[in-house]
Symmetry: C2
Subunit: 340 residues, 2 copies
DNA sequence: GATTTCTGTTGGAACGTTCCAACAAGTGCG
DNA sequence: CGCACTTGTTGGAACGTTCCAACAGAAATC
C-alpha cells in the first residue's frame, strides 16, 4: 500500500517521449513564441502523460533567479503580521513571484536561522517583518539580497525599510481623547517591542502640546495581554487617578479591558481605552475597541513592490518609507465621567 | 548608494582562496569527519572572509532531497492553523528540516497554485492544513511526494491524514452541558467548513444518548463571527427556548456572545456557550469561554513526523490518525437558570 | 538563381553543488 | 622490507534545467 514513488520525470523524458530535443521542451514549457503548433502539442501531451513538473531548483540554478520572495516573520501569533503576510503574498503573486514564509518565533537564534534558510534557497528578495535580530546581521544580509525591514526604524544605506508613523499614531490617540474631554490619560508602554519607544514619545509630545505635561503617566508594559493587565494593576496601585488609557497594542488593550472590569471599572463610562494596530481583535463585536489603525496589508504589499523593483534593477537607491496611521473610533472611548 | 550587489561567491572561490579542492570545501561545509584540522581552519577562514553561503538549490539538485517541508495552509486568519504551523515548524527544525509556509487564502485556484509552487521547489514532504482543493488533485500530489492532510477526513491509500475526532468533541460539549443540568441545548453549525458535519452528528448522537432527542435544535451558521451571530438571531426568531448553545468554532462563539448580550441575555447566567478549537481567543481574560480543545500544535508536529518517516523510507503504509479532543471548561458555562 | 532573412529546432556548455572512484602519504604488522 | 590498511585529499561525472551559437529549410528579396 502506498508503494514506491517513481523518480520524477525530467525534461529529457518528455523530450524522448515527444520525439524532440530537450531544448524544445524547455521552450514549450516557458511558452516561447517560435514553436510550431505541432511540436507544442506533442510536447504538452507527453508532459501531461508523464506528469512532468519543471524542477524549479534546476531552473533557478541556471537563471540565477528563483522568483521567490522570502518572508521572515518574527511572531505568527500577532494578527498584525498575518495581515502583512497576506499583503505580501497577494502582491508577489500578481507580479509573478511567490512568497514563502518562514518564522523565527521571537527567538533571535531561530530568526537568524530562518533568514539563513531563505538565503540558501536563493530567494530574490527578503521581507523581515518585525524581526528582532541585530542590525549588523541584517546589514550583512542586505548586502547579498534585496531586503526590506518592516516595523523597525532604519537608517541603513543598504536595507529598505517601511514603517508606520508610530509617533503620530500615539499622538492621534491622545488628540482623540483630549477632544472628548480627557486630561488624565495614562500610557502603558510596549517595553522593548518594535515601535514602542516611538509610541511613547508620541504620547509625551502630544500631552505637552495640549498643555497636559503635568498629567503624563507612564507605566511599563508589553505587547501581550498580561502586559496590559499588569499595567493597569500598576496604575491602580500608584493611586493617581486616570480616565483614559492608551495601550501599546490591541492584545495588551484586551488585558487592560479585563483588568479594568475585574476592578469594577466600566468601559467607557469610567475609563476610555485605546488600542493599537486595529487588528480583527479590536473589531470583534464583543470588544469593539477604538484603536490606532496601521494598514498591515498595505505594508506587506509595498514591501514586496520595493523588492521587485530592486530585483529587476529598476532602483539602486535606498528607500525608507513611512506610512500614515489613522484612528478607528469605536465604543471603548467616550467623554470622561462628570467632574473629572 | 545601495550599489551593485556582487555575485555570490561559490564553493570554487572558497577552494581557490583556501588553496584546496572544491571537494574538500564541500566536506568541510558538511563537517565531515576525515578532514585535517589545518584544512578545516583554512577553509572556514576563507569562507568567512568571502561571505560564502552554500547554495541549497544546487545541493538539493544533486542530493535529490531538499530537507524542506512545505506547509500549505488554507486560511492564515484562523488562529487554529497558526498553531498547526508552529507545531510543524518546531518539529521540522528539530529533525533538521525546514518548514516553509505558502498560503492559498481559501481560494481553490490559489491553493492549487500554492501547492504547485511547493512541488516545483522539490519539497521533501507536504502538509495540507485544512485545504479545500479536490481530492483528485490531492491524490495526484500524494503520488509524487509524501503528503499529509489535516482536518479533513480521508480514506486515501496514498495520502496520510490526521484529524481530531470532531464527532467526539461535540459530544463532550453536550455531555458537559447535560451534566450541568441543561436540556435545551441548541447547535449552530459550521456550514460546509472542515469537520462541521461531524460536529453536527456528534451533537445529535449525544443528545439522543441523553434521551434529549426532542430537544435537538439545529440552525445553520458558519465558522465566522457573523455565522455565530446570525445563528443566535435565527434561534431567537424561531421562538423556542434554549439555555445553552454549542457554537461550531471559537470565532462563531464570539459572535454568539455578542448577539446574546445585544439581546439582553447574560452569559452564563441565562445562557451557557461552548466554543470549539480552544484558540487563544477563548482564553482571553475578557472572554474566558469554555471550548472544545483541539491540540493544533500537536497536529502540526505529528504531521511532520509522519512525513519525515516517509521521506526516510521508514514507512510505506498509509496512516490515518485520529486525535482525541478534550474540553476546557471556563466561565461561559454554568447550570441553567432556575426552573428551566 | 543566388543571396538574405526568417522560422523552427538542436546539441553542448553552464549553473553550484555532492558523489564516487582513485590516489598519495603515512602507519602498523608480520 | 613488503604488504595491507588508514587518513586526507582530489578531479570528474552527475543532478535538471536554461542559454547560446549554430543549423536546415522555407520564404523573401534582388
Amino acid at each position: 500500500m502506498g508503494g514506491r514513488r517513481a523518480t520524477r520525470p525530467t525534461i529529457v523524458d518528455v523530450a524522448r517521449k515527444a520525439g524532440v530535443s530537450k531544448s524544445l521542451v524547455s521552450l514549450v514549457m516557458r511558452n516561447a513564441s517560435n514553436v510550431s503548433e505541432a511540436s507544442r502539442r506533442a510536447v504538452l501531451e507527453a508532459a501531461e502523460e508523464l506528469g512532468y513538473r519543471p524542477n524549479a531548483m534546476a531552473r533557478s540554478l541556471v537563471q540565477q533567479r528563483s522568483f521567490v520572495i522570502g518572508v521572515m516573520v518574527s511572531d505568527l501569533s500577532n494578527p498584525f503580521f498575518i495581515d502583512v503576510i497576506q499583503g505580501a503574498t497577494d502582491t508577489a503573486r500578481e507580479a509573478g513571484y511567490r512568497a514563502l514564509v518562514n518564522t523565527g518565533g521571537r527567538d533571535k537564534h531561530n530568526e537568524e536561522d530562518a533568514i539563513e534558510t531563505l538565503l540558501r534557497l536563493q530567494v530574490d528578495g527578503l521581507v523581515l517583518a518585525g524581526s528582532i535580530v541585530d542590525s549588523k546581521f541584517i546589514e550583512r544580509v542586505g548586502a547579498e539580497v534585496p531586503t526590506v525591514i518592516t516595523n523597525r526604524h532604519s537608517r541603513s544605506q543598504v536595507i529598505d525599510s517601511i514603517v508606520i508613523h508610530d509617533w503620530k499614531g500615539a499622538a492621534m490617540a491622545v488628540d482623540h481623547l483630549v477632544g472628548l474631554g480627557h486630561r488624565k490619560i495614562a500610557h502603558i508602554t510596549g517595553g522593548r517591542g518594535a515601535g514602542a519607544q516611538n509610541r511613547l514619545n508620541g504620547y509625551r509630545q502630544a500631552m505637552k502640546r495640549h498643555g497636559l505635561e503635568g498629567e503624563i503617566r507612564v507605566v511599563p508594559g508589553a505587547y501581550t495581554e498580561k502586559g496590559g493587565a499588569d499595567g493597569v494593576a500598576r496604575l491602580v496601585d500608584e493611586g493617581a487617578g486616570f480616565t483614559a488609557i492608551l495601550a501599546p497594542n490591541d492584545l495588551a488593550a484586551l488585558g487592560v479591558l479585563e483588568a479594568l472590569s475585574a476592578r469594577g471599572f466600566r468601559v467607557p463610562e469610567d475609563v476610555s481605552v485605546v488600542g493599537y494596530d486595529d487588528t480583527f481583535l479590536a473589531s470583534l463585536g464583543h470588544i469593539d475597541m477604538t484603536s490606532v489603525r496601521q494598514d498591515a496589508r498595505q505594508m506587506g504589499s509595498q514591501a514586496v513592490e520595493m523588492l521587485i523593483e530592486r530585483a529587476d534593477g529598476k532602483r539602486s537607491s535606498t528607500n525608507h518609507i513611512v506610512l500614515e496611521p489613522t484612528l478607528t473610533v469605536r465604543s471603548s472611548t467616550a467623554p470622561p465621567p462628570f467632574g473629572d
